[in-house]
Amino acid sequence: MSIDKNSLWTYVALGALGIFGPILFPDYTLSIAYLWMMVLMASTWDTLGGQMGYNSLGNITFFGVGMYASAIVQISFFYEGGVGEYTSAMGSIKPEFTAAEYFWGLSLGIMAAGIAGLAMSLLFSTFMFGLRGPYFAIGSLGLAIAAAEITITINYVGGASGISMPLFPGEIEFRSTFFYMLCFGFAVVSHFLLRWLYSTQFGLAANAIRDDEDKAEAMGIPTLAYKRLGWGIAAFFMGCMGAIAGNMAGFIDKEVAYPIPTFGIFMVAMALLGGKGTLWGPVLGAIIFHVVKETTWTYLLNLQWIALGLILIINIVYFQQGIMGWLQTKFPERFGIVVDGSTSQDADGGNAGGKEAA
């Protein structure tokens, strides 16, 4: 895994934003935290959606499942009555957690959330990967909607009235910085994991599945295992991020846990905008999307959805490969893509000699 010069400078710039952003602009700490969350969502969506060509509209399911899993773990570990009693009291019980209990609970909660997301994706993969193309997309969207509806019928986790998350034991500024660092940390870890993964045989197999899955199968590539792994990684990180987001929000219910029309769609839109199937596309897409979203929310209130819609339309109509994809076709040599200068037809016979001619 070598890092070229361009990437190095990008890392320096993003690292500086990540570390100094909240120090220089303390008012925007949570907004930048959401930026990293969106970077993670778009990047992990791309593992299956971009690299493998399986456009999932249901990755938000793992976010919600992770959020609820962490709530259950955090509450039941340190509150004697358990989750059922806590939720049925409808928020009238406010147990005081010590700092140690809170942070232990949160750590375990995030881990449980990741594992719950992963387990859920493995369960889904047993039947979902029989679907392809638009059927997979719609099927996965159905999973998210079903998960949201099922969640509100479970009284154990508060049903439709939701759960209040344990109170953060500390100053409000420290709270922001703490959750900020979690979001940033998870975005960084997921990015480098994916970067490494795409440089191995996994990256090639994923692209092979995208280009021609039947051929890959005919060549003996265990395609199902690769798809499971790709979705599993996304599910794990989405689960962890769900746990963090739930604690940031302080209160969770169906709307917070399964934001299908917002984050659920945003993550796909961001990956498409930046260029799906590339490492940097979803990162770039998330940054642009988030900046536009925050700016329009501030200065063009009421028009923000129109602005986002406009970006999507321009993206889909004029830049289907996204920004990175467009750059790659425009300046292929900068991305190490070789284009043949000679006409390929007459090279047929002429180049049969291969190396000798080269």
Binding site: T200, Q201, D211, A218, V338, D348
Partner: protein, 248 residues
Amino acid sequence: MSDPIIEVESVSKSYGGVKANVDITMNVQRGSITGIIGPNGCGKTTLFNSIVGYHPIDDGSIRFDGKEISDLRVGDIARLGMLRTFQQTRIYSKMNCVDNMQISVSQRADSGFLMFASRRGEIKDRAEHLLEFVGLYSKRNLISGDLSFGQQKLLEFAMALMNEPKVLLLDEPTAGINPTLINGLIDRLQRANEELGITLCVIEHNMRVIMNLASHIYCLANGKMLADGLPADLQNDQRVVDAYLGGH
């Protein structure tokens, strides 16, 4: 001295009312080059599809290396060491040639960690060596979808070799390749057979090619096995001539 690596026994396959293969029996000898000929629509590709597990067969038995494979699926059979190429060439069109080659390595000995293997070193060397073997070395870094049809066909052949199969089923390897390149391809098929020890089974319409290449030829017509024998015998078989000329 008979040592069949593929044994097809009384295989039948129909699509609805269409009987694509009826009671087909054939053997492919280990280390040989076996040909399958027959007029368009006579069931050659269906037979290939049955052998590699693309669809379930209605009746009969198919054994590979002594093992019954008629109930296995494509991926399982490929991992046993039997591959096929497609009549409509299939490659990973958005990846470059070296990447196409590197992802085609054999999955037979995979213990689950091949997924995370690095792409450098031995695998890359072998990929480039085989690209040189088929004459595509100078094109190795091009996006494979930008290659001409003939070059894509060569790439698909090289990808199959990269997989180090025991048996390779080739569906019309010379179709669409320009005539000057066909001789080179015949030569490479023979070398793959002799030097790499790969058993070949070839569907081919080009009589000049198949008669030079194969040691034993099967002829299908209307889904049934019409005749089989040495190339010279088959060329003089009136039934084969009739089938090709439409006298059937």
